[in-house]
Subunit: 327 residues, 2 copies
């Protein structure tokens, strides 16, 4: 990696190298036209279906790039992370594909289904307390005692570069797009996408989409100072994290605008995806669609907008428009 060689933790060349590294192990996901959304927002909308990616989210890109970047000498000691979400499963699958051990620290209150999926992928799950500090302490202890390489969920050059490979695909699949909408949590995906896309298409409008209730990235982008994490309450559970030290300057400098959406707008967009586009998506993946439906994306309406649908790991027994809030 060229970390330190450029102004940011990751360069466009790092993303290109990551694409070659992960190509045998991840899917080139399809891009689907979405007239149900397009007719409502007055522009052609194309969805990049990372919900159909292996493990059900884009996270396998960064996890695979990290796992495949670890030197042979370190590989036998494996990888470790702390996550209760898509990154945990992705890292478990990526490590298993290289024949490496994986240790995943999950809080005691993580869902039994997610824990089981990580274990099925072959990872060792370490249970810890539910606070962020407890998770980090438990992961550090695993790192110390096993010598495993830490692969954090977003704030790492390997992970950012891997997620950025989405940009290379979508710009090749939809070269006519004038605008790109990307959901933002910790900022790993949008940072990698932005650094790669800026190099290829300096004129592309890049808009981050974020829940109002997790609006630290929008605040950070507006003020130029990294804002703290909000209380983790948004239905878009994949986007609750705050920007990281590495992702913050890339979001600040390379993203044109941020769009905030309400919880109701997220649920309505998710429902529209299921009922009219006939796509299974998770709440976090509805955030970009919600920004489009709310008219908060801006840019040219005479050329297509591409929107990243980042994951499909929805709980089908508890679709949020079918269960009472808080149930």
């Amino acid at each position: 990696m060229s970390a330190g060689a450029g102004p940011y933790a990751v360069s466009a060349a790092d993303v290109t190298a990551a694409a070659a590294r992960i190509a045998p192990h991840v899917l080139r996901t399809p891009v689907l036209p979405c007239p149900a959304v397009g007719e409502r927002c007055g522009r052609e909308v194309l969805l990049k279906m990372e919900s159909m990616q292996r493990t059900g989210s884009f996270k396998i890109r960064g996890a695979t790039n990290a796992v495949r970047s670890i030197p042979d000498a370190d590989a036998p000691r494996g990888v470790v992370t702390h996550s209760s979400g898509n990154h945990a499963l992705a890292l478990a699958v990526a490590a298993a594909a290289r024949g490496m051990p994986a240790h995943v620290v999950m809080p005691a209150n993580a869902s039994a289904a997610k824990r089981a999926a990580v274990e099925r992928a072959g990872a060792a799950v370490v249970t810890c307390g539910n606070t962020g500090a407890e998770r980090e302490a438990a992961a550090a202890e695993v790192e110390r005692s096993t010598g495993a390489t830490m692969v954090p969920p977003y704030d790492h050059p390997w992970v950012i570069a891997g997620q950025g490979t989405i940009a290379l695909e979508v710009l090749a699949q939809v070269p006519e797009a004038a605008t790109l909408v990307v959901p933002v949590g910790g900022g790993g995906m949008i940072s990698g996408i932005a650094v790669a896309a800026r190099a290829l298409r300096p004129d592309l409008r890049i808009v981050g989409a974020e829940p109002e209730l997790a609006g630290d990235a929008a605040e950070s982008h507006r003020t130029g100072t990294r804002a703290p994490q909000r209380p983790p309450v948004s239905v878009a559970d994949g986007l609750r994290a705050a920007l990281g030290e590495l992702t913050f300057p890339m979001v600040r400098d390379l993203v044109d605008d941020m769009a905030l959406v309400s919880e109701g707008e997220i649920v309505s967009a998710m429902r529209l995806a299921f009922e009219e586009a006939r796509l299974v998506i998770e709440p976090s993946a509805a955030v970009g669609i919600a920004a489009l439906l709310a008219g908060r994306v801006g840019g040219r309406t005479d050329r297509p907008v591409a929107c990243i649908v980042c994951g499909g790991n929805a709980d089908l027994a508890r679709l949020p428009w079918l269960v009472p809030a808080g149930a």
Copy 2:
């Protein structure tokens, strides 16, 4: 139409004419690779996503071809049909698009949601008794009193030709396919597809997929005699009808083989589509996937198989693997 000019009610030329007629009014639906199914059945699987078609099913093709084939002199008196399913909504939408009245006879036990959707599309709903005879009598009475043109759900040359346009699209989108899997209810879709596909690709293997509990088409294909309708109990509610007078000889002569699947296989395939392929499909649309997963399709495994995913109008509040049977 050339009805009577060839051996069957519909010719390949009728399908080509239908494609030009309906093109401005329907979507060219995408074809998606489906590794989740492909890896399980040992061949490349491509899904033709009619679930993403306008009105959520392929039925808009036949309905639009019928509506657009009615002479101007007859158009003001509108159309009439009896259906409680996807054909009812499709005909309502197709008629509204031409500015024609539509009368839809629905049984009293039809779901309130389906009735509301048909009414939202602008059709007049006529309630009738729940038996097939009551439905047909009520539709005939509407036809007599209004002068509307009857557009039955499948056994009509206009409808068969419209559904057949799927073949022209999928063979252009996936020219390398060696096998085509098509769900079978009344046979309108597979008849139109088979007559068009045989003309373009005589070597193509065409397999119908049918629920065991609605296996009249498989029996008719095997015996050469049209079998009666089975009790309408399959979870694949769009496939409960028996073959029609017009569709039977086309299925008998032009379809290579029929594959039967159990109710459990249908539900498992539907669940796989939601949970791994991240697609919203209705039970009838899972029948072709179920036949592939069960290994009952046959033909070359070294070339892709295309499978028609015929509709996406699933009841998301009652997904069949999440509710007790009979609940």
